[in-house]
Symmetry: C2
């Protein structure tokens, strides 16, 4: 089944007015997965709120201003009500070197993305208009034609601005050119040098944010002239740093070294409005939420995985596989990975143990025993499977309520 | 040199009006250490602020009310300005099984404690009276006679209430009886069952807080009827849990499972007023600060260690020695411990590697290459060596300033 065929099917399913249920999505996912043995997709779901810049309202506006579509109000309290929501789904990583199987790679790359993207369209239409937000398409290492398709669909599905997240582990030159042509207003880059594309994107009026795990890389972002930095703590799901710097200690440090005019977005361990407020207290101007959105109705993860997440205990994820590729995992497989990792296994041994397609098996096929379940430590607080819009509403409500309580606090 | 002798010396040094400099302290520490080969003291320095209960002002007051000495005001804003500061120094752990060397154990146990305690008296006199706080004496596994002495000295040195922290790894029955006799108003217990002493202490009007690393143990505290729970995250220095639950994810979870009338005190990664506020946003009613107070003028740690702390980079501490006794460490020794630990060393191998007296060598002797330097991840933000009072002032100022900023934030 060539990429073009699936693409047509997806366009059909994605048409306005077509009832595109989760059952449809999963039927498609499973069908495509059967053809995709040997590749590991990874999930990356995020939402960012920037309720207002704590120290640099003016500069945040200057650097992240996205036009009239954003809801900005001139409040009595002299702060600016600027809120952005980003959500990205299903960053799928394939084997680019395996040219002979490129159409298959495209197939399963396309499907979960589309499922996620479809969810995101819903999300953007409701949550974004409700909250004055901005959706972020997790494009990861999407093949170019699929990428084109999704960006165009996003543009069709919302009149509001949206962003794209690109992993720089692969050559993204065509993607970048396309984003410039399509005038996508904001691009998040990760897993590569912030120097690579920042200047080019900015020269076309595109805002650039880059994801970092420490101060050292945050300073590289600053040197590269990024518009915003995402600092991701040890708590975050999936791939992470061996350094283990937690959100609680990472955010104040990055905020301190980073020029005050660069907005800082906190990630890792944030699944509630209270945590969002905590991140602001620590010095962030915004937060990125992953795990909570994996466990939503619209998420393209398998129902089995979502249910497993809602049952997760307080200490059921670990950052493991450190000798190979440090990853935060849940489940029995994760336990075994940890045991192996801590018993001194080499990179090669861990690579062999992990094999191929483990993330797909876990996250999308719902094989909880043998799949790799990438999820953040905060998963143990995600006890239900609401819609993405419900999550946003809830977080905003929690944020406001706790902030009102803090106001009353005296020392 | 029997315990009694040293005790007399310490009493002399501790007399009112005696100029007891840091040089004196360290001379004494070193002299005593020479006689104490084979034992590892550990440092435990803390301050707790409870600016006001977010959700349970009334119950916090009801459960933690310490009499008229605490500064409580009835504010216009309907919140209560209740602030407590606890500081504890130098919890020293010895080998109780080694009965033949008990006097030596007492010696080096006594000295760092007294040094710490002396510092704490200074601290209490200035910082407590300035901030309306409460000092907490880290009694750990102090020998009974030393313990008696310190509690009495604390009572003499301040008219304000103070607390005591007891590690329950040893039999504390005599200490407990003494605390009851002396009417010490608050006791923090850790490293043992909260059931052991809570009821007895409470029956004598003493308030009890217990330290936990997860929700499971927090619920045990609730069942035991404690007055407050301290939840300590992965970031914290020294001994910790293998579970690696970070402050950011631990606090909201403990707050959720714990009965709302039980005050929650957050620990781990907190060295600033902003972090204190973040902990409140996450659901804590108070915070406990360790690392920041190790790196102060009054701290009994070696100057070399303090200086090393101020030079620590952002990713220089690790929770290691997991197969043996999980400990967060800094320095070259820590690196080697981590390498060994991750290469699959057994508990016995790690125990042999650690040997005896390593903490003492690092923290009190200042042997940075071979000593065990227990310190929290947030150490990389401690860039100076202020007085304890300066730290408190700074934190209060930061807390207020950031809270004022949060008030202006709208979503």
């Amino acid at each position: 089944m060539p990429a073009a065929f699936l693409d047509v099917e997806l366009i059909k399913l994605g048409e306005e007015g077509h009832t595109y249920t989760r059952t449809h999505t999963h039927t498609y996912l499973r069908r495509a997965y059967k053809k995709s043995a040997g590749h590991s997709p990874s999930i990356n779901v995020g939402v960012i709120f920037v309720p207002s810049a704590l120290a640099s309202n003016a500069s945040l506006l200057a650097r992240l201003h996205l036009g009239s579509a954003l809801s900005t109000t001139a409040p009595l309290s002299l702060s600016l009500s600027l809120s952005l929501c980003f959500s990205s789904f299903s960053v799928v990583k394939g084997n680019r070197d395996n040219a002979g199987k490129s159409s298959h790679i495209t197939l399963w790359r396309a499907v979960p993305h589309c499922a996620g993207w479809h969810g995101m369209v819903q999300w953007m239409v409701s949550a974004v208009s409700n909250a004055g937000g901005l959706g972020l398409l997790g494009a990861g290492s999407m093949m170019f034609d699929v990428f084109q398709h999704h960006v165009r669909r996003c543009k069709k599905a919302t009149k509001k601005p949206f962003g794209v997240n690109l992993s720089l582990t692969h050559d993204m030159s065509r993607h970048i050119e396309f984003l410039i042509e399509e005038k996508v207003p904001i691009v998040f880059t990760s897993a590569g040098s912030p120097k690579l594309w920042t200047q080019k994107l900015q020269s076309h009026g595109i805002k650039v944010a880059h994801v970092v795990p420490n101060c050292k890389l945050a300073l590289k972002c600053e040197a590269a002239g990024v518009d915003a930095v995402v600092a991701e703590g040890f708590e975050a799901g999936g791939h992470n740093e061996r350094e283990e710097i937690t959100t609680m200690t990472l955010i104040p440090q990055v905020r301190k070294v980073l020029a005050p005019e660069i907005p800082l977005i906190a990630a890792g361990g944030i699944a509630s409005g209270e945590a969002m407020l905590a991140a602001m207290a620590l010095g962030a101007e915004g937060v990125q939420v992953g795990t909570r959105f994996v466990v939503t109705q619209e998420s393209s993860a398998a129902e089995e995985f979502k249910k497993r997440c809602t049952a997760a205990g307080e200490a059921e994820t670990w950052l493991t596989l450190k000798q190979y590729r440090p990853t935060r995992l849940l489940n029995d497989y994760g336990k075994e990975a940890r045991r192996l990792s801590e018993s001194g296994a080499t990179k090669e041994q861990l690579k062999a143990f992990c094999g191929e397609g483990r993330t797909k098996r876990g996250i999308f096929d719902g094989d909880l025993a043998n799949g790799e379940l990438e999820i953040g430590q905060i998963v143990s607080t995600c006890k239900d499977i609401p819609t993405a819009a419900e999550v946003v509403e809830r977080m905003v409500k929690e944020f406001r309520a706790r902030n009102e309580q803090l106001v009353k606090m005296k020392l």
